[in-house]
Symmetry: C2
């Protein structure tokens, strides 16, 4: 397979991927934002989140800023700005802000120095904890701790679950396909001797 086709094929194998914008700011106050499909939950206590950084010049500004400031924000991409979010993957120069270039807006929340993406309705500030090199393919796994969450209150259910479908959060398949979701069901905690039950979005038995 040609390289690009192979990339599309292999990128399809892991299943649906999260769609998130990671935003940073350098010491001079210049903002940077880039889309990532590799953000992954690592643990709830402490609240840790990871993502994969490729050995690619384009993402390099994001990593430089994270290393220099230890701070970044992760912003879920919803359906009403997925095209602008995708556009952040273009190879802009270090001196171009992807915010300006794509028409996305910064939003600052004291005392976090990194910008949030104003258009995102579920977003949080993260503090860098560890960078793990993966020599197998020269990528790095970036781990941070979640510090401050901004989310529409009515999306948060009584049992803690956030209805990200109601927020029109998108997912990605392959390199470039964006999707909204349609809930099949929530399911009760699985136990060996009985089948789990379907639950409504607020966690009540159906």
């Amino acid at each position: 397979m040609p390289d690009r086709d192979r990339a599309r094929f292999i990128n399809s194998l892991s299943g649906f991927k999260s769609a998130n914008l990671i935003a940073t700011q350098n010491a001079d106050g210049n903002s940077n934002v880039a889309i990532f499909s590799s953000v992954v939950h690592l643990g709830a206590s402490p609240a840790l989140v990871g993502f994969v950084m490729r050995p690619d010049n384009n993402d390099r500004h994001t990593l430089d800023n994270i290393i220099n400031t230890s701070e970044y924000t992760i912003n879920q991409v919803s359906a009403d700005f997925y095209q602008q979010a995708h556009q952040t993957s273009a190879r802009y120069t270090k001196h171009q802000s992807e915010f300006e270039a794509t028409g996305l807006s910064t939003h600052f929340i004291d005392p976090i120095k990194a910008p949030f993406v104003k258009e995102s309705v579920l977003k949080y500030a993260v503090e860098l904890k560890q960078i793990i090199p993966i020599p197998l393919n020269n990528t790095q796994f970036i781990i941070g701790e979640i510090k401050l969450v901004v989310c529409a209150h009515d999306a948060i259910q009584e049992d803690g679950y956030i209805d990200i479908e109601q927020l029109h959060t998108t997912s990605i398949s392959g390199l470039d396909s964006y999707h909204t979701s349609q809930r099949l069901s929530r399911l009760s905690y699985a136990k060996p001797k009985k089948n789990s039950r379907k639950l409504s979005v607020n966690g009540e038995p159906l």
Copy 2:
């Protein structure tokens, strides 16, 4: 927040997660299968995929088998067996096969020793490459190389993209919510000076 509510809340923050069954076999020929929502694409060349193993007795059989045999399969969960897939997360004993307990079926493909999940329509064999400990929360990041892919041929587009929406692949939000998808669009490769265009599922401009 109570621990379980906190877990649901923090698990919702990363966005939609992939839904995959990881299947293994031990030296005695006993099969094991467990659902994971942390499978993440790491790179196309070599074709690498990672997932997070929690310090949890339940997943331990999967990890033991991977360490002992260096072989596992990853099987996308589709809508028609998501309840059985969820049920694999119950705490079965080492001597119970989750295949038997949940009604899923094994499928063996020579020369791969690990079982595939028969019900899955997109699945692949993986060879263990590296286990990276993450001391921050006592998890491990398991990295393997994709060796053999089984997929319905008509889901594979000419440009390599696999239409996993057509395959009814599910995604997970939070700890327990399962979703199918609805495509917004594929988008063309982003370039700095022009906005990306919407593409059809086969990669042609719309």
